[in-house]
């Protein structure tokens, strides 16, 4: 589905943000991308939809090499890739509906989007998505009138409105409380399962990454230092990714739940936090 071959990115300043990145994501797989700040997580997902220009290597989405596209072809490839942002990146002064419909911009002629004349299919899909993320009534509110969690839901609806073949998610929970973070992650995970969408989720919170992804990729200084299942993420691996730290203390809670899974009440409590 998505295949990265020898991807590198060197910034003009000489900083090597990514070096020799190789991995493949099959349909429906949710990949959690973890790593310390500045490891190149954000650069990596932005290279895929070319918000950042990769220096070398290739990125295959189906049969298209994304690194070779320009102009119209690049725009047509971008509309196949939905993106969800840190701090939501909604257009604050537009209505919720306009924000969701902006997911169709790649498919709609400029004059139609200028007059906000979208097709009935686009509009009914937008209403359905808003209903699904729990914002059915808010379509005419301005985006800046919503709370953080609500805004990220609009962000998810906008990405899904594209009917994407791939989802790129950049720190979706960075400024949300723990409960809302989990709800948002669950929404993203659900959408991926439902549509067998592959997703790359760039995330700081190791516990969230483990809980909601099928596979974890650990990035350090622009290189992949771990690629495996979430439960293979041992203390030794975390040290390899982030450097020395007392990981048992951080993860103590999570491991406890893994062992005495019979204690249902306790697990539920942790879920709700």
């Amino acid at each position: 589905m998505l295949k990265l071959q020898n991807l590198t990115k060197t910034y003009k300043t000489g900083d090597k943000a990514l070096q020799g990145i190789n991995f493949e994501v099959p349909a429906g797989q949710v990949v959690g991308l973890i790593g310390p700040s500045g490891a190149g997580k954000s650069t990596l997902i932005r290279c895929i939809n070319r918000l950042v220009e990769p220096s070398s290597g290739s990125i295959w989405l189906g049969d298209t090499d994304l690194t070779r596209l320009n102009g119209r072809a690049l725009r047509q490839a971008r509309r196949r890739i939905g993106m969800i942002f840190q701090e939501y990146a909604l257009v604050e002064r537009l209505t919720v509906m306009e924000n969701v419909l902006s997911g169709r911009l790649g498919y709609v002629p400029t004059w139609r989007s200028f007059l906000r004349r979208y097709s009935p299919e686009d509009i009914s899909q937008a209403f359905a998505l808003l209903e699904k993320v729990g914002l059915g009534e808010h379509f005419n509110k301005r985006a800046d009138a919503l709370s953080g969690g609500q805004r990220q839901r609009v962000g998810i609806a906008r990405a899904l409105e594209q009917n994407p073949e791939l989802l790129l998610v950049d720190e979706p929970t960075a400024s949300l409380d723990p409960k809302t973070s989990r709800q948002i992650m669950r929404l993203i995970q659900g959408a991926c399962q439902e549509r067998s969408l592959p997703a790359i989720i760039n995330i700081h919170d190791v516990m969230l990454a483990q809980q909601f992804s099928d596979r974890i990729i650990g990035l350090k200084a622009g290189e992949i230092v771990f690629d495996g299942a979430p439960d293979e993420l041992t203390n030794e691996v975390l040290t390899r990714i982030y450097g020395d730290e007392d990981w048992t203390q951080l993860r103590g809670e999570g491991e406890d739940h893994g062992e005495d899974g019979g204690d249902g009440a306790k697990v539920d409590l942790a879920e709700g936090v």
Partner: protein, 269 residues
């Protein structure tokens, strides 16, 4: 955990400019000496000031007893002409400034377009309105048309520059998000940039309307039509009471524009 003293208890903010102490003292002393010498070189003719005071006082008296009636027809015609110049030049200026402003924003325009648009802005901003007015009066003759062209030209420099700066300081993530959907350049402008800059553009346009009205009063003095021409004639004829009336009307109109623009600005936020 008790804190251990490091033995240091004084601290001074380090100088940000001229970090070398000797140079810093030399530069500051030099600047002070220059200021004193410069002030001393200004020649003031106190006798002329005394004479002027008397004339100024007559002006103030005229202002206190304004005469709206004697020259009302001239004043009325002048005001209408000024307002016409103001509105037409502001509208024309805005229409031309918006594309130039977008072209002069580094985050939207390619380098050649950026340089060309910045060039136009610099050209428009490098001449004061009066100088352009004198030139255009020479080219197109006395009257409101020269005034209209002058103010439209000056509006371009003002509005495009501030609009371009507003676009450049837009939230990048909103632009990125729209671009990531596969939107064209026009769609990015329409969906990500326009909503962010619109309130500021409306505010700046209203502010420019206000400036253009005041400028149209000044430009009249060099022959570019409007209330300024009427004011100039009144002063030349020593009719300070009529001049006072004109000034009061200018102030009143500026006040009305000011209040209504702040109202409109609040409404578009």
């Amino acid at each position: 955990m008790a804190l251990q003293s490091t033995g240091r208890s004084t601290w001074k903010r380090p100088p940000m400019l001229f970090t070398n102490t000797l140079w810093r003292r030399l530069i500051y002393t030099g600047a002070l000496i220059y200021l004193v010498l410069a002030v001393q070189s200004v020649e003031v003719d106190w006798q002329r000031v005394y004479l002027g005071l008397e004339r100024g006082w007559r002006f103030v008296q005229g202002f206190l007893v304004p005469d709206f009636t004697t020259r009302w027809r001239d004043i009325h015609a002048g005001l209408i002409e000024s307002l016409t110049i103001t509105v037409t030049s502001t509208v024309a200026g805005i229409l031309i400034s918006v594309p130039i402003g977008i072209g002069a924003a580094r985050n939207l325009a390619p380098a050649p377009v950026y340089l060309a648009c910045r060039g136009i802005i610099t050209l428009s901003r490098s001449f004061q309105e009066i100088i352009i007015a004198i030139l255009l009066v020479a080219m197109f003759g006395f009257g409101p048309f020269a005034g209209f062209l002058t103010l439209a030209f000056a509006t371009i420099g003002f509005l495009s520059k501030l609009l371009a700066e507003e676009i450049e300081s837009c939230d990048r993530s909103q632009i990125e998000a729209i671009r990531a959907t596969g939107a064209t350049w026009w769609q990015v402008v329409n969906y990500a940039v326009q909503p962010q800059v619109m309130p500021r553009l409306v505010g700046l346009s209203l502010y420019r309307l206000d400036i253009n009205f005041r400028e149209s009063a000044v430009n009249g003095i060099v022959g570019a039509g409007g209330i300024g021409a009427t004011l100039n004639t009144a002063i030349d004829r020593y009719e300070y009471d009529s001049a006072g009336a004109i000034l009061i009307l200018i102030i009143a109109i500026v006040l009305v524009v000011e209040y209504s623009s702040s109202y409109i600005r609040r409404w578009v936020q």
